[in-house]
């Protein structure tokens, strides 16, 4: 590749397939221009977005490296709807911190990615602007709520995307679309400018083509900004990018609670195989326990909905947005649930109790991490399901987040790495780390990635 002249390079390569790191390198070597890069992506979007509905808006800016931004993240002078009808005409007057940080790195916004309304949903079907399709099978859901972000990366409609993860909304669609998704530790990345769903859970993170890309993007977007009080002082700086290519000395914890009832046998097989691969690469596999896992969904739905009910109150149609009747079903359901849980006479039984159990779940992880460096397991109990399959039954939909929400309850980082296929659909391996230790999960993920070919598989579109 290095010896190729620019023209030959373009002829020989589909540049939309390049990872972020490879794109940066190629640009540095003048293999192609930013304009050529953008044109290639815009051409592909033109062809494929009508099928996939990954973008709500495409921005023809030829200046930067094309990035998709989940539509819940504010972009100055560019419509930001959060997938909701209530914000169909909303144009933010400011950029989210992450957007400014990316622009400073020479990135450009190629489009605003579709999503479940206000990030509430696990299938992408709650968007007021139509469902996003899974690039691997157009009859399947892409996962959610960062549905458009994951689909756009999987279909090579952007170099990488930003998503938000409140209960699995980065990792689960990444898993279902066969790409890399990183939910950083709570407080690693400023939330300023990302419309709040549940403020003590929300975290912005990258969805990328490789683990190395996720590492790079996290370096760019992390760090304090003086706007998010919960943002950690330390910017993520990868210590050593030339880490060794095996996992000798790593202790990998496998929680028994993540392999019980509800886990699809095809998915389990793929995950077990991936764990064997980690062992083969030199790591020590240790069984760990996260005893409060069974309460995760209940605790999450009380606390998350409570925060949602308060966060959604500003959508009163006075200063921006349309009327509250325009809220979708799922949003209304959560507002009602949260309003109830916070009401006088119920606070202690619901919110206060759930907050206590949340602490226990945090301790579960702390104890488990005394024995291991990372914890691995499935991201989603199943592969992508049929469009419409779970829409009638919210509870079944909620249970699809069972392996991801504990991570948000605890505030720790989590990575989804492609690790195989079941029924022809991608499966993601979830790698969890200690609070603020993204470095280790990225290292494990990257060693795994370099010793497998899953990330090179592309959907046939």
């Amino acid at each position: 590749m290095d010896s190729l002249k620019p023209k030959e390079f373009l002829k020989m390569n589909d540049i939309t397939k390049l990872s972020l790191l490879d794109t940066l390198k190629a640009l540095e070597e003048n293999k192609f221009s930013k304009a050529e890069l953008n044109e290639a992506y815009l051409q592909r979007i033109k062809e494929l977005n009508p099928k996939l509905n990954a973008y709500l808006k495409v921005v023809e800016d030829l200046q930067g490296i094309p990035v998709a931004i989940k539509d819940i993240i504010c972009t100055q002078n560019i419509e930001t709807t959060a997938g909701s009808k209530i914000l169909s005409n909303f144009i933010p007057q400011y950029n989210a911190t992450v957007v400014n940080k990316l622009l400073e790195q020479g990135m450009g916004i190629i489009g605003k990615a579709n999503m479940d309304e206000f990030a509430m949903g696990s299938s992408g079907e709650n968007s007021a602007y139509g469902v996003t399709k899974n690039p691997w099978d157009l009859n399947k859901v892409p996962g959610g709520s960062s549905s458009g972000s994951a689909a756009a990366v999987a279909a090579d409609l952007c170099v990488f995307a930003l998503g938000t993860d409140t209960g699995g909304s980065i990792r689960q669609p990444a898993s279902l679309c066969g790409v890399v998704g990183l939910k950083p530790s709570y407080g690693r990345v400023s939330r300023y400018g990302a419309m709040a769903m549940a403020s003590s859970f929300d975290q912005i993170g990258p969805i990328t083509k490789t683990v190395g890309d996720a590492r790079k993007v996290l370096e760019w977007i992390s760090g304090p900004d003086g706007f998010d009080s919960n943002c950690n002082e330390d910017r993520f700086k990868s210590k050593d990018l030339r880490f060794k290519n095996d996992l000798k000395g790593f202790r990998v914890g496998v929680p028994k609670e993540y392999f019980g009832k509800g886990l699809d046998s095809g998915v389990e097989k793929v995950i077990r195989k991936a764990i064997s691969k980690l062992e083969e690469l030199g790591s020590e596999i240790i069984e760990v326990s996260l005893p409060h896992t069974q309460y995760a969904v209940a605790v999450y739905y009380v606390l998350m909905a409570s925060e949602v009910s308060s966060n959604q109150a500003r959508f009163d149609g006075i200063r921006f947005g349309s009327k509250r009747e325009d809220f979708g079903e799922e949003v209304k359901r959560r507002i009602m649930l949260g309003t109830f849980a916070l009401s006088t006479g119920y606070y202690d039984d619901y919110f206060a109790k759930a907050a206590k159990v949340r602490n226990l779940m945090k301790q579960d992880f702390e104890k488990a991490f005394e024995k291991c460096d990372v914890i691995v397991g499935p991201v989603s109990p199943t592969v992508a399901w049929n469009l419409g399959e779970k829409m009638k039954d919210p509870l079944t939909m909620y249970l699809s987040d069972i392996y991801t929400i504990s991570v948000n309850l605890a505030g720790i980082p989590g990575l989804s790495v492609p690790c195989g296929f079941s029924e022809g659909l991608p499966v993601g391996l979830q790698v969890l780390g200690k609070y603020m230790d993204e470095e280790t999960i990225l290292n494990v993920g990257e060693v795994y990635e370099q010793n497998t070919n899953w990330h090179e598989e592309k959907p046939k579109l």
Binding site: C74, Q93, L342, T344
Partner: protein
Amino acid sequence: MKYEPVIGLEVHVELNTKSKMFCRCSADYFGAKPNTHTCPVCLGLPGALPFANKQAIEDCMKIGLALNCEVSEISRFERKNYFYPDLAKGYQISQYRWPLTINGWLEVENQQGEIVTIRINRAHQEEDTGKLTHQDGVTLIDYNRSSVPLVEVVTEPDFHDTSEVRDYAKKLQQLFRYLGVSNADMERGDMRLEANVSVRPEGTKELPNYRVELKNINSFRFMVAAIEYEIKRQIEALEKGEKLNQETRGWDEDKKQTFVQRSKEEANDYRYFPDPDLPLIEFTIPEVDKIKSELPELPWQKLERFIEDYEISNSNAKILTEDRKTADLFEEAVKLGLEKQIKPQQIANLVVNQKIKLASQEDVLQILENIADKKVDLIEDEGELEKLAKEATEENQASVDAYKSGKKGALNVLLGSVMKKSKGKANTDKIRSILEEKLK
């Protein structure tokens, strides 16, 4: 049956910090063009987040410490959820279960001139709302005030007459100004009072099962009038066997009566919960001690010191310590006066009797010069003072009666009369003791 009023006070004070409570906008909005001191945060735009103003939290702590409160080791911001167009986020960031400072007290004077202790439940930190203006059938919203820092000081229901209420409110206003944390101007809305008023049969101890909240009253005088009206109204209602309701009332100054603003049925459930956007507020003991040690001399401490050190009367000391500047200039005058053999009492009497406004160094020098040159002759002669006192009491029989029935404040009317007659030249300390002796 005799009834006893039970009153609790909530005082809101807007802090004069440079920036707002949770954003970088200027908090000095008074007189500014509407909606010019705004940003995504105080407009409650989607995606915006609060970032706490450390100075405001320290100011709140100063207020709490000055009111003998304990600083909570851990406190937190909480959300008070309710809808109102002036509330940009749909919730106010306030404190409820975890206030910054708790369990204080302040001594005030009651109608009989006795000292009573008012327990202070808390001084907590919160943010102000925007401001609505209704004109020509439309409502305009100005968010310049949105998120300006507010401190709320809440008492226990320990007040039993309006003299206590007035003294408490005045003392708080004086304290805020001494601490330099607020201009505490009632008319500008820097300082706002709310009173909870109910009455119970005298001798009973339990709290009545209702309370009337008096709100949106923007002067000490109107507040006192409203409370007095309420006490009367409630006693009359109870005597007629009527049941009193939990409600919010306002004050109609034209009709001189209170009126219902909101009944209990319309009360909000605020659904308080810890604000997930803001970290815990934690202070170490040394940090609290440091702030405590940096508190200025408080008005009541200064008052006592003036009486003790300068041997001046309580009433003179009160006037001289009303604000920090006057007190400082008085002390400067005393210091310079010593060299000229001028006594502190002479300076105090002159300033008080002639209502001299001490505003600058020149005022200080002028006073000393006047005293040194004997340009001012205070009436010190006992006989002459006796005569003035006699005239005053004869002309103000109502005040004499009031004083004798326990209303010690009535003495001021008589003092004022003497001062008028003497053109401000009577020695106040002496005339006061003569009057007190006469009215025994």
